[in-house]
């Protein structure tokens, strides 16, 4: 019962934050909304006994990704509010229809291939501790893990390249 309460609270927070993210006019509030959603998801991970993933979720998303977002928002100017008004006719309505249709389709598909609650909640088979996750990560998935290392290195190089080459336009932000 306690778990259900926690779930309802944080699921609500996640949904509200996510909707807020989409609807907020100011990108900073969008970022805050996403931050809230990510935090709630981290709590839900704890609820699902995935402690390590939860910690990484906070460190990576809240700690690094969202900080970067905010950094960039501030770098390129927060007052740059987008002009509203649909580019495609009836865009909002179409968007609403498509999103709700997608949600319905996913739920329908899920119902067709639903997970058959084999584990009653509260009796976890596994514990998402660092030891358990890392056994799997460095055992079965070593090669994949190493390739993500490559991926990150390449991403870092690409970012540096983008920042270095392409400064032919005079820019005032670089002096920050």
């Amino acid at each position: 019962m306690g778990e259900l309460i926690v779930f309802i609270i944080f699921a609500t927070v996640a949904l509200v934050s996510a909707i807020g993210m989409v609807l907020a006019k100011n990108p900073v509030y969008s970022a805050i909304g996403l931050l809230g959603a990510m935090f709630s998801i981290a709590v839900l991970y704890v609820l699902l006994d995935a402690h390590f993933v939860a910690a990484v979720q906070v460190i990576v998303y809240a700690g690094a990704v969202m900080t970067l977002f905010l950094f960039v928002i501030m770098l390129i100017g927060v007052d740059n509010r987008e002009a509203y008004g649909p580019a495609v006719p009836a865009q909002r309505i179409m968007t609403a229809v498509v999103s709700i249709g997608l949600f319905a389709a996913i739920v329908l598909a899920g119902r067709a291939a639903w997970i058959t609650g084999s584990n009653a909640f509260g009796t976890p088979d596994l514990n998402g501790t660092i030891e358990n996750v890392s056994d799997e990560l460095f055992g079965t998935w070593t090669v994949v893990f190493l390739s993500t290392v490559m991926l990150l290195t390449i991403a870092a190089l690409g970012t540096i390249a983008l920042a270095y080459f392409g400064t032919d336009v005079p820019d005032e932000e670089a002096t920050l």
Partner: protein
């Protein structure tokens, strides 16, 4: 006793402990700096001015909180609270003494013993960035914004170095639980030297340096460099809200000191004397002694070193600290591999 009530008691205790500590800490800093600078320092409120911090706190509490016109109200109000919250929450995982036995039950003297304790610390210290970013942005003014952009870049950079410097500690202890790390530092080498993690000297140094940067203390206090950007992110804050930032900063200093003591100087480990009913005090004493030593070191550095230039700060972080940490991680990993699995050819 219900688990919720126990948790609440622990939280209240941690909060109170930190509050008292900070009041002391501000006074100690001012006194110590003035001694180093051949000044007298505060000496009016109470004996040796010991009540000065309380007086300042009262003053700011009753002062009017001025709110400039074009602030984003919600974030402007939330920022100092976030700052204080993260600072308080970090201390939750720091063990301040050996486990104590009351009525046959053993209680760990720690807010919460998490198996991902160190990750928790890193996660929360990355949260601390948001307080500064939000404060700077919500102020709707140029200098706070500049200060917060500086702050976010600086803290992200040094957090990477800090996280990397902790990896050898984790490798050494084989756990990310802070309690386990402290227990692993019990005992001695060769019967003489305490078995502290300070043997991981590069890690210790890097952790300490990035601790300065994370708490925006001199010589890395560019975030609030008066000569360039007035007060940085808290330029527009006043009264009680400013006091909250102030409080948060000093708690952060104490947190970093406590973490240094716990992770590298053996935490509460030390010799224990006397009968059983008094013996439990010793570990707490040792912990406080070590922590305050580091705090005094922080103050000493602040009084001694000038502020760094911003580009120097960034290149120092990325081009020196992080490569050194990486090299050190590799060395430690090899050493531990040899310790656990023997030499590769044996």
């Amino acid at each position: 006793m219900s688990i919720f009530i126990e948790a609440a008691i622990r939280a209240v205790f941690v909060f109170g402990f930190l509050l008292v500590t900070v009041i002391l800490l501000v006074w100690v800093e001012r006194k110590f700096v003035s001694d180093l600078q051949n000044r007298v320092g505060p000496d009016r409120a109470g004996p040796w001015g010991i009540l000065q911090t309380l007086a300042d706190g009262m003053k700011s509490f009753f002062k009017e909180s001025i709110r400039p016109t074009n602030v984003e109200v919600a974030l402007f109000v939330a920022a100092p609270i976030i700052a204080l919250m993260t600072a308080l929450l970090i201390f939750m995982v720091v063990p301040i003494g050996a486990p104590v036995e009351i009525n046959g039950t053993e209680y760990a003297l720690v807010g919460a013993d998490l198996n991902v304790g160190l990750l928790y610390v890193l996660a929360l210290s990355s949260m601390a960035v948001y307080a500064i970013v939000f404060a700077g942005w919500a102020s709707g003014s140029k200098y706070p914004l500049l200060g917060s952009v500086r702050a976010s870049a600086q803290m992200i950079s040094y957090e990477a170095a800090m996280g990397l410097s902790l990896v050898p500690v984790v490798l050494f202890a084989g756990s990310t639980s802070i309690t386990t790390i402290v227990e692993q530092q019990q005992g001695t080498f060769l019967g003489v030297f305490p078995a502290w993690n300070i043997v991981l000297l590069p890690s210790f140094v890097i952790f300490l340096i990035s601790g300065f940067a994370e708490t925006n203390r001199a010589p890395f206090d560019l975030v609030e460099a008066e000569q360039e950007i007035v007060g940085g992110y808290h330029t527009e804050y006043s009264g009680f809200q400013f006091a909250l930032f102030f409080l948060a900063e000093y708690i952060a200093v104490f947190n970093i000191s406590a973490l240094t003591a716990v992770l590298f100087l053996g935490g509460w480990s030390g010799p224990v004397f006397g009968p059983a009913w008094i013996a439990w005090v010793w570990p707490i004493g040792w912990f406080l002694l070590k922590t305050w030593a580091i705090v005094l070191f922080f103050v000493w550095v602040r009084a001694s070193l000038p502020r760094m230039r911003y580009d120097h700060l960034m290149s120092f972080g990325w081009k020196k600290l992080i490569p050194v940490s990486l090299a050190w991680i590799i060395l430690v990993a090899i050493a531990i591999g040899i310790r656990d699995f023997g030499l590769p050819w044996s």
